[in-house]
Symmetry: C2
Subunit: 324 residues, 2 copies
């Protein structure tokens, strides 16, 4: 593959080239990895700085309806929007989020929108790497906004927040004062909370839920990366397409403030460092995944389980003699 | 150091030799690690199979009073008892649990008891390895029961359960039906629950709490490694030394059943495999901790943060050129 040619076509905004490049970074094959690194090196420093918006919400909060309505509003303003997904369950289901493009039928037909389902991967770490690289590719292809969607399960919110400039939590209206079991750790990384379904019978409940969360956010934290009045909780209605413009204005205001104060660049730098370090660790541990290493691990584990070899000795033997 | 001689002295039950050997396995120095592996190899297959009892309880449940009373009862029966600790906070505090031997004044004076504070370590993984090796040393020195204590914080219960034959949860009497915020995951790994402080004014509350937990255990699970009637919840009083004999009899009954059914050996085999595999991973990642590797990591992270190098490229560079 001519990665230089592919890079040029991506920089020209060719969608098929972008799709092909994402397929390349999703591949686990060693030769594909080498090509992916080459391609990313060609692209580095070109393209534009998109606003990377992470979005988490449990099933049923109307995530795809929101992304479609929000994406349509952005493309309506002439902005180019890419939608990626980090799906912790994709190993089992073969890609459950965004797998069905009909979920965002209008947006997927938009010239200025690009929707990519989550890669089916065996573990969240692998999905994270591929998504980070896909974000870089989307920026090279000239997208203005990259939305990274995830369902709020396990560690996936943290993974997505680690690759976003802004991390949004999408919630449903809830009765009572229980905060929908949103974990404190998630409240701490949310840059903005959007309470969806503020329409029809649920409108009042949505507003009350929103006020509850706004209060909780004020109580919970004061972070240097939040200007006066942030973090905010807002209501939106994806089905009525209400509140989306306001939400977008708040996101831009927050991003602008962070750009000027240096927090935006600092966050990206921290993320890049973290990404590099986890790439190194993953690359090192990958040495245990070769055919030869796996066979030796299995044999030695057998010896250890049978009590014929100590764990520390066996580990030493493994590291000294059975790695390529 | 003559590790063969040290091994013989440990097998003879010399306490000073045991203490010295534990200091050796706690050391992070490469030459000490090599000696520790040698020593453990000499000892393998000798010594006796102790009953390894993990014990977790949050501060205030009376953990040290319980261990002292329970340990005294065991030594009173002619059994040799070792007490080790896994302290997730020891990195900061320099060893907060068991650090003060006066907490178990009577037991520490017993000829057949051996108490060892948690090593001060930078991370839980390191503490886990050293404690596992200390258990092996205690078995070689002829101890019948090895108690491994931890405060219930973060991952430390799981770490201790992974090195125990029986994992006990020590709880305080609690008002109401709230289950003291015990996480479901912990309930699932507990082999027995002991509600302490079943004395004086708290006796009735302790019995009610015990009944609540017994009910919760029945609802929560059915595991093949639990015989009819297990997992059990019992009340004890460490200060009145009540219920300790009964608890010990239940522990033995459970251990005996598991020995006969094969679950005891299977658990130890699984733990040994897991230990070996984590030793390999830790050993591999230790290659990033040399002076040279750390310097290269720092330089490359700087390049990545500044956008002059991509994360994947930089990781490749690190793995190919900067590891010993």
């Amino acid at each position: 593959m001519d990665t230089k040619d592919l890079a040029e076509r991506i920089l020209n905004g060719e969608r098929r080239a972008l799709a092909r490049a994402i397929t390349l970074v999703e591949s686990g094959r060693a030769d594909h990895r080498a090509q992916a690194r080459e391609l990313l090196a060609h692209l580095r420093g070109h393209g534009r700085e998109a606003l990377r918006v992470g979005l988490s919400g449990t099933p049923g909060v109307g995530k795809s309806t929101f992304i479609e309505a929000f994406g349509m509003m952005l493309t309506g303003q002439g902005l180019k929007v890419a939608v990626l997904a980090v799906d912790p369950s994709s190993a089992r289901s073969g890609g459950s989020i965004l797998g069905d493009k009909t979920r965002m039928e209008r947006l997927s037909r938009e010239r200025n929108a690009f929707i990519r389902p989550s890669p089916a991967q065996s573990h969240l770490g692998g999905v994270a790497r591929r998504t980070r690289e896909a974000i870089d590719l989307c920026e090279a292809a000239g997208f203005d906004v990259v939305l990274i969607e995830t369902v709020g399960v396990g560690q996936s919110e943290t993974v997505v927040a680690e690759m976003s400039d802004l991390f949004l939590l999408l919630l449903a209206p809830a009765g009572g004062d229980e905060l929908q079991g949103v974990k404190r750790g998630i409240m701490e990384i949310a840059d903005m909370i959007l309470v969806n379904k503020a329409d029809g019978d649920l409108k009042a409940t949505a507003q009350r839920t929103c006020a509850d969360y706004a209060g909780a956010l004020r109580l919970l934290r004061k972070r240097p990366q939040d200007p006066q009045g942030f973090p905010k909780a807002l209501t939106v209605s994806a089905v009525e397409e209400a509140g989306l413009e306001a939400a977008w204005q708040e996101m831009q205001a927050l991003a602008d403030w962070r750009r000027e104060s240096g927090h935006f660049a600092a966050r990206r730098e921290g993320q890049a460092r973290y990404w590099f370090e986890s790439e190194v660790r993953q690359g090192l541990l990958a040495r245990l995944e070769t055919k030869r290493a796996r066979a030796a691990m299995a044999d030695l584990a057998e010896e250890v389980a049978a009590g014929r070899l100590g764990a520390a000795e066996a580990a030493q033997e493994m590291l000294e003699h059975h790695l390529d």
